[in-house]
Symmetry: D2
Subunit: 158 residues, 4 copies
Amino acid sequence: MAAYEPKNPGYRAAAIAMFDGQPAMHTLGIVIVRLAPGEAELAMLHSPALTQQNGFVHAGIITAGLDNACGVAAFTLMPREADILTVEFKTTLLAPARGERFVFKAEVVKPGRTLTFCEARAFAEHEGKVTLIAAMTGTLMAMLPRVAASQAPAPIPA
Amino acid sequence: MAAYEPKNPGYRAAAIAMFDGQPAMHTLGIVIVRLAPGEAELAMLHSPALTQQNGFVHAGIITAGLDNACGVAAFTLMPREADILTVEFKTTLLAPARGERFVFKAEVVKPGRTLTFCEARAFAEHEGKVTLIAAMTGTLMAMLPRVAASQAPAPIPA
Amino acid sequence: MAAYEPKNPGYRAAAIAMFDGQPAMHTLGIVIVRLAPGEAELAMLHSPALTQQNGFVHAGIITAGLDNACGVAAFTLMPREADILTVEFKTTLLAPARGERFVFKAEVVKPGRTLTFCEARAFAEHEGKVTLIAAMTGTLMAMLPRVAASQAPAPIPA
Amino acid sequence: MAAYEPKNPGYRAAAIAMFDGQPAMHTLGIVIVRLAPGEAELAMLHSPALTQQNGFVHAGIITAGLDNACGVAAFTLMPREADILTVEFKTTLLAPARGERFVFKAEVVKPGRTLTFCEARAFAEHEGKVTLIAAMTGTLMAMLPRVAASQAPAPIPA
């Protein structure tokens, strides 16, 4: 993969602060385990509170981890003053989310001034084995202060 | 939309049981508010524990609601003995998830013996106004007992 | 659906000119059959030259029609000076593309200054019956002249 | 990537025959340039007949190449008697399709008895430079003769 040059020399602190500002990540028990320009790795321990009817972690929770991994990876390449939002993502579920621990790895495939394209994969660690359980591709958008108002999604006409 | 004929006369009880068997839904505070053959509507009250850095509900949580709405809608049309799993979904985020209450409406667009295609929309209720905040399309798969083992995703070759 | 107010009073002529400027549409035999603010309908006659191994029209060709329907629908709501590009789309194939004629209907679900979200459906007309054969959701981007250079996708770092 | 073991020893001839049976590929000038178990690479020369309003190759044509690369890659791992169909794909357009030649590389990420998940990338070769222009993820389905009828998408209820 390309080695990216971050525009914000304080990208690590900025990405960690953005992540730590998300109560949902605390609630789900998701933490950052690795950061590099254009890359992020998050992890989460299994919790029975987050499972679906077969005892596997719910696809929406796995998606929350993948989406945030993409967001953090994209954010590391954005200018200091940017805020970030997710435009869209697609998640494909490849195997049941069965395991003691889950890892979400994202990397930026194509950074851009406005839009950034990321790919991410989720892995389950179960009894010493690592299994690919889901894949995401997503588009993230940088919101810059001076254009933030005008770039914001327009209200839907009544 | 088409009026679908459920294969399982007990589809309501079956869908509710499947939904209630998901601890993640209890944790997120998501409940069923309407059910019909090929249709489902879920709702969730705002919780600060589920927000991201700007105070809006996290995209992954919104996705969990949309995915489950699709799953319940698809499940209403499956035979009694089927289990269900999500193959993939795409979520597009259209506006910030700001509100006191969120509603997830899904409908089956194309049912199939193996695969079912669903569409879902998420709405935020904020100070008396309803706003479309996200849209999903997804593919769900029926797992039938006699073929469950062979249909299960194959392990990835080492 | 919402009734949209076009920003460009000459939106019809502009959309037709943009469409007619695409040699690929001539090659595939796709034409505009209806236009309204935020809506577009295209049509294509069956051609054996565009089929796959079972005699059905190729999914990529169906996608070209859907993508262009989305592009034209989104373009009708953009300002006069804007150019348009597709950010991403997802196509779900719901039934074989078997028929004498194919119709692609798109509508804008959420217009925005920078990004517009569209949905589209493809139908096959076969022996007097109309069948839904594919569904698309897509994100389109307005490129405005003054920011065109800076908004352009950045080159991938070597 | 994993080294996959094809179930069909004649996978090369089968994949080439499936590809050659598609008139759309001849029309678009797309050819196979490399085949391996779970992998495929296709190529296409630029043609003015396939461009959009800015002279770049149309996103639908690029998608046709990517979709077929996924189809061929997935088909190499299917049993001899299987037919294949595309369930869904998402294409993200990353840079204008400007070049003399285009290459579509796909690989199977997760094979399965019924569903196979693939990733593909499109590259433009322009004045000696290679640029990533698009990325696809897609789900392909194996249709086995004995279940072909019952697995076929059900007609949409009237």
